[in-house]
């Protein structure tokens, strides 16, 4: 059973057990425009909640992607590094950024469900 939650900074997390898959939302990719480069964190890196974890660059600007929770990076999306435009075509699917092993599930309490995120971006 996967639960998807959202941050106010437009990251999404798909949660299975104590692992969260993280990406940016479709709303975020629409705001960014054409994505041309994605910088992903190294596997094994310990991330603190709200720390800059990845960078997504559109034609015009670079934007940070923040760690939505504290934990260790388990895996990054090699397909995304090779084809950054996946962020535009499938932001909440194939264009996941990294998987993180969560250190403290209580941090999830501050995140939004889909209905709350929709209201946030309305």
């Amino acid at each position: 059973m996967t639960t998807t939650l959202y941050t106010s900074d437009h990251e999404w997390l798909a949660i299975e057990g104590d692992v969260a898959t993280v990406g940016i939302t479709d709303y975020a990719q629409q705001q960014l425009g054409d994505v041309v480069f994605v910088e992903l964190p190294k596997v094994g890196r310990a991330l603190k909640k709200a720390e800059a974890a990845a960078v997504v660059e559109s034609v015009k600007a670079a934007s940070d992607v923040y760690a939505p929770v504290t934990g260790e990076v388990l895996e990054t999306n090699a397909e995304l590094a090779a084809e950054p435009a996946l962020v535009n075509s499938d932001a909440q699917g194939k264009a996941w950024f990294f998987k993180i092993k969560m250190a403290d599930r209580s941090e999830l309490g501050g995140l939004m469900d889909e209905a709350a995120y929709k209201a946030h971006t309305a």
Binding site: G33, D34, V36, F37, E39, V55, E57, S58, V59, K60, A61, A62, P84
Partner: protein, 382 residues
């Protein structure tokens, strides 16, 4: 985000309503509410301009007529030569030339286009500088010239390999024009000024049209399926690939034309030993740069990786340690190259093609090499 008051104070070009109706994403630029992109997006708009034709609203730029009080255009040309290092006298009727207003330190106040319309000169200047430029002209040339800001005109750029065919349907004379030809022409029956020029590296035209007719002309051009509206985002990536300077970024009051690698724009007649050498602001310093070289120089930079190197990135000689030797002034992703491109200033000793440098991006030093510009070959119709 801008407060509502700020948005309301932004000026609008005569094509503002058209931009909004075409889905343009509007942003503040040089005091105007301008389209940064349309629904197609920057990448597609950029590539469409390189492959077909793009229509750009550049009405925010200043258009100024310099009318000689004597009635002889060469008197206006001689007068303007007091403010720019270019040979203005030699611009033949119906021709246009790129120039720079310089200051007493040899820096650049603005860059501009100067056309000889037979009985007067026609100038196109940057939006952010246009009021200062007009004041500068008035302060220095009022004795010789009438200075008219043509605020009742819009300016449309049509750029790309199919621009000629698209414009030919509305202006039979367009195909006969060569690069930098410029003058009054009828377009769709309207009284326009047409130049075969632009700022994308592509063949194309800039069309000055009375403001009241601008939307009609733009719509007539956009009826052609080869022509798409293009926003400021792609305009910037196109001019960057073309190796062209953006005022306030790649050139400013602290850069001389020689430092900016714009020597080609200064004719021999104005250089040391020329028939009308000097006589423009900062001539001593600029001519010394011509004669002895400048300590630094604008160069093109190609990154070896995929990460864009943007404006402000510091440049280093080595992969670790040392002081920065220069800085990137424009940089981003080049859609036609499918790779990052940048330009910046480095010491002349480090400006040779192929010189290996490092650009600092988010704390990492990324390898970049000094590269020839333009990054994308221009296709001007000479």
């Amino acid at each position: 985000m801008l407060a509502r008051d700020d948005q309301d104070s932004l000026k609008r070009t005569p094509l503002h309503g058209l931009h909004v109706s075409l889905g343009g994403k509007m942003v503040p630029f040089a005091g105007y509410d301008m389209p940064v992109q349309y629904p197609a997006g920057v990448l597609k708009e950029h590539l469409h301009t390189r492959n077909a034709a793009g229509l750009f609203d550049v009405s925010h730029m200043g258009q100024i007529a310099l009318r000689p009080k004597s009635g002889r255009v060469e008197d206006a040309a001689r007068a303007l030569e007091r403010l720019v290092p270019q040979d203005i006298v030699a611009i033949a009727p119906g021709r246009q030339r790129y120039a720079q207003f310089t200051n007493a330190d040899g820096g650049i106040l603005d860059d501009l286009m100067v056309a000889n319309f037979g009985d007067h000169l026609f100038l196109v200047v940057n939006a952010a500088c246009k009021e200062a430029d007009e004041a500068h002209l008035r302060a220095n040339l009022s004795g010789d010239c009438g200075i008219d800001s043509l605020t009742d005109r819009a300016l449309i750029a049509l750029q790309g390999p199919r621009a000629e065919a698209a414009l030919a349907k509305l202006c039979a004379e367009a195909p006969a024009m060569k690069f930098m030809d410029s003058g009054p022409r009828k377009v769709a029956g309207l009284d326009c000024f047409v130049s075969r020029s632009g700022y994308t590296g592509e063949d194309g035209f800039e069309i000055s049209v009375p403001a009241a007719d601008a939307e009609r002309l733009a719509k007539a051009l956009l009826e052609n399926p080869d022509v798409l509206p293009i926003g400021l985002g792609a305009r910037d990536s196109l001019r960057l690939e073309a190796g062209l300077c953006l005022y306030g970024h790649d050139i400013d009051t602290a850069t001389t034309p020689v430092e900016a690698a714009l020597e080609w724009s200064v004719q021999k007649s104005r250089r040391s030993g020329g028939a009308r050498a000097g006589g423009f602001p900062g001539a001593e310093k600029i001519l010394a740069h011509f004669d002895n070289g400048a300590a630094r120089r604008r160069v093109g930079l190609l990154a070896q990786g995929r990460a864009p190197v943007r404006e402000g990135a510091l440049l280093f000689a080595d992969s670790a340690g040392g002081e920065p030797i220069g800085q990137v002034t424009s940089g981003g992703f080049g859609p036609s190259l499918n790779a990052p491109v940048a330009m910046g200033y480095v010491p002349t000793a480090s400006s040779a093609l192929g010189t290996q440098l490092f650009a600092e991006v988010r704390g990492q030093r990324l390898p970049v090499a000094v590269a020839a510009m333009p990054f994308v070959k221009n296709t001007y119709k000479r």
